[in-house]
């Protein structure tokens, strides 16, 4: 399958340069420019406003940047408004000059899409021009400005092989909020609907920094929802944080499977950090809710911190799962800490008949004994669990409001306390993008058991 990457961001004037040389037979051309374009990335669009040599017969050409190697920019012809067809960018003219000496048209580089919602709308389209009908399509966010999309609903991908919503490598968060591309909605998503709503198989959502901080008086109560068609969905390396207030009749949830899916389906939630999810009026709060899911759930390496419910018989849940007897949940290397509610249920397996494979999870000293990493509401007696740990033992780098950093510090008991989970679905890539090796840590951050992480020399 071909992979097509398209950029998503608000920068519509990245650079303008004039093609100087071109090679290749189309639809892909390797082009150099008089001055090598600055700030462009794979997935950006090259736009040319052209006319025939000597003027007239206008057509706007659109090319996609598919590769960058030094000064060589590979551009794929996509469309032109006069339907003239595939052409190299070199030899497309402005209409200026004379027919014998026409002026080469410049190329304006822009993002392909300005918002996540409009990217999704094109995924839903049957003839989008910008990717092949059976491609693996990757939409990469760029940190030009905040993404404020209130709700994005991926519920059709036509015949695409897969869809990935990701972040351009240099614009990814560093494991802390607002350090890269930020998705910060300001308007209602709809109660129980979700900010990112997924109802297609083979989708990856990764490296997203979703802040709910503007939504305290809004009905938004769920960050990522999985609607039921979610086979081979992977939710990894995301930050979800800062929901307060009372969103309505049901409380806030970081990631939730809303429906059962099929028993043969697999859903993986890997190395995410979810924190500061605080209900203020009479509802439960849940970090990860996979309760309805009847397929296989892989919940690995997540860090959940400061989950607060409100009211009598309203509980603070870390990870809630296994209501369906057909469900198998593999739950390993997770941290659940700082719960507060009428009960603190760090891990809650609802149905005794569902299957759980648990290992090396941690609950702190706020969790009720019945619901800690060892017992999970079902007296599992998991001897690999770490329970009753204090925040000092977990040793997050910073829990200070405004500078939260839930990486583990070098004295953390989580270092070297995890189980090796292999490499499937990128589970070995931690919240910084580091590749885990040797002894694994518990939680979303990996720190080498031999010492410190790959720290830079630093003047203290």
């Amino acid at each position: 399958m071909a992979t097509t990457t398209v950029s998503i961001g608000s920068n519509q004037s990245i650079d303008t340069e004039t093609p100087a040389t071109s090679s290749g037979g189309g639809p892909s051309y390797v082009v150099t420019f008089g001055t090598t374009p600055a700030g462009i990335h794979v997935g950006d669009i090259g736009f040319m406003d052209t006319e025939d040599a000597g003027g007239g017969n206008a057509s706007d050409y659109t090319f996609l940047v598919t590769a960058i190697s030094g000064a060589d920019i590979t551009l794929k012809y996509l469309t032109d408004t006069a339907s003239k067809g595939d052409n190299s960018p070199l030899g497309l003219y402005t209409g200026g000059g004379s027919s014998g000496s026409p002026t080469q048209a410049p190329m304006v580089f822009k993002r392909a899409f300005s918002t996540i919602t409009l990217f999704e709308a094109m995924i839903d389209d049957s003839s989008p021009d910008y990717w092949g009908s059976s491609d693996d399509v990757v939409g990469e966010l760029h940190a030009d400005s905040n993404f404020t999309d209130a709700t994005v609903n991926f519920d059709q991908k036509q015949s695409l092989s897969s869809v990935t919503l990701s972040v351009y490598e240099d614009d990814r968060h560093d494991g802390t909020a607002e350090s890269g591309a930020l998705w910060k909605p300001t308007a209602n998503s709809g109660h129980n609907v979700g900010i990112l709503r997924i109802n297609i198989d083979n989708m990856i959502a990764e490296w997203l920094d979703i802040s709910l901080d503007s939504l305290d008086s809004r009905n938004t109560n769920r960050a990522i929802t999985l609607v039921g068609t979610n086979d081979d969905n992977i939710i990894r390396n995301n930050l979800i944080h800062d929901k307060g207030g009372n969103p309505g009749s049901t409380g806030p949830v970081g990631i939730q499977a809303l429906a059962a899916g099929a028993t043969s389906d697999t859903l993986s939630i890997l190395n995410n950090i979810i924190y500061n999810i605080v209900e203020t009026s009479g509802d439960h709060t849940v970090g990860i809710n996979m309760n309805q899911w009847q397929g296989t759930g892989n919940i690995y390496g997540n860090t959940l911190y400061n989950l607060v419910s409100n009211g009598g018989s309203k509980y603070a849940y870390g990870i809630l799962f296994g209501n369906d007897s057909d469900n198998t949940t593999n739950i390993k290397n997770n941290i659940v800490a700082a719960l507060s509610g009428s009960q603190e249920r760090a891990y809650y397996k609802t149905n005794a008949s569902s299957t759980v494979n648990s290992a090396n999870n941690l609950s702190d000293d706020t969790a009720g004994a019945t619901y800690d990493a060892e017992d999970m509401n079902q007296s599992l007696n998991d001897s690999s669990a770490l329970t009753g740990k204090t925040l000092a033992e977990i040793d997050f780098v910073s829990t200070s409001a405004g500078s939260e950093d839930l990486h583990i510090d070098v004295d953390s008991i989580c270092i070297g306390a995890g189980v090796d989970l292999g490499t499937t679905n990128g589970v070995n890539i931690d919240i910084d993008g580091e590749t885990m090796s040797g002894d694994w840590s518990i939680g979303a951050d990996w720190v080498s058991a031999g010492g410190s992480e790959s720290f830079l020399a630093f003047i203290d």
């Binding site: 919602t117 409009l118 998503s189 129980n192 009749s249 910073s398």
Partner: protein, 274 residues
């Protein structure tokens, strides 16, 4: 207020429909998107000596106006946090305070400095940085700063930066409200929920006491639509052009030419479409 509209029905029953309002933006949101681009960290260099971000005036002013906290490292262990809205000051260190807040400033800074686009300022050992974006940003003040420290003008950044792809597959329009004095009116910008409700999903009414596992039924991908096929005159473009993907449709107009929101936008539920 700007709106972007779906052209032609999507291929599936649950897809966007012809005329659906896919997204809507307030003018302040549009100004903020542009301001963030002008004040993007990539536009500002690093100090050649410290390797920390150079504290250029525009960037610092932007951060002071858009972030809630300023953090200043005092020594190897302590950080002073100032709430820029209330001026409340706290001293943080490795020992948790009453709110369980603590920070290992050394470890914190080491990680931040690994990222090329970090926003750590100041001398080594006396670094400072800003945290937590505000929710009530004074966008007018932000643009005053931008105009003071650059050649950019706020008045030239009134439109959302839709891409060329989007302008060919969707229709970009803007609309207005009205402020009446007697029978005469002036056109006014729309803001807040008036704008944002136009981009909402159509959802079945939620029962009074739903369970925690309650899933709302989505009636349609969008609740509001613009019957652009009946509004060619108002939008200033033919229906054929509006539906032609080879024609970029940007029907955004100056304020004094905009149509009223009630002429352009309709609720599918209220009008019986769904």
């Amino acid at each position: 207020m700007e709106i972007i509209i779906k052209v032609n029905d999507g291929p599936s029953p649950s897809s966007y429909k012809d005329g659906d309002i896919v997204q809507a933006f307030t003018l302040d949101e549009i100004y903020y998107h542009h301001a963030q681009q002008k004040c993007n960290v990539d536009n500002f260099g690093l100090d050649e000596v410290t390797g920390n971000r150079s504290p250029e005036q525009l960037l610092i002013k932007f951060l002071e106006r858009t972030k809630t906290y300023k953090f200043e490292r005092l020594n190897s262990n302590e950080v002073k946090r100032t709430n820029l809205i209330t001026n409340e000051v706290s001293i943080l260190n490795k020992t948790p305070n009453a709110d369980n807040e603590r920070i290992d400033v050394y470890a914190y800074l080491v990680r931040r400095l690994q990222k090329a686009s970090h926003l750590i300022f100041g001398k080594s050992g006396r670094e400072y940085w800003y945290g937590k974006e505000r929710n009530d940003i004074d966008i007018g003040a932000v643009w005053n700063d931008i105009e003071t420290h650059s050649d950019y003008l706020k008045s030239e950044h009134n439109n959302f930066p839709f891409s060329d792809v989007e302008k060919r597959h969707f229709i970009a329009i803007n609309t207005s409200g009205r402020s009446y004095v007697g029978d005469s009116f002036t056109r006014v910008e729309l803001s807040g929920d008036t704008v944002h409700t136009r981009q909402e999903v159509a959802i079945e009414e939620i029962p009074e006491n739903p369970s925690e596992d309650y899933e709302p039924i989505l009636l349609a991908k969008r609740k509001w639509f613009v019957p652009y096929w009946d509004l060619a005159t108002e939008l200033g473009s033919s229906v054929d052009d509006l539906r032609n993907v080879n024609h970029a449709c940007d029907c955004r107009k100056p304020m004094n030419e905009r149509e009223h929101i009630d002429i352009l936008t309709y609720d599918k539920i209220a009008t019986g479409v769904i």
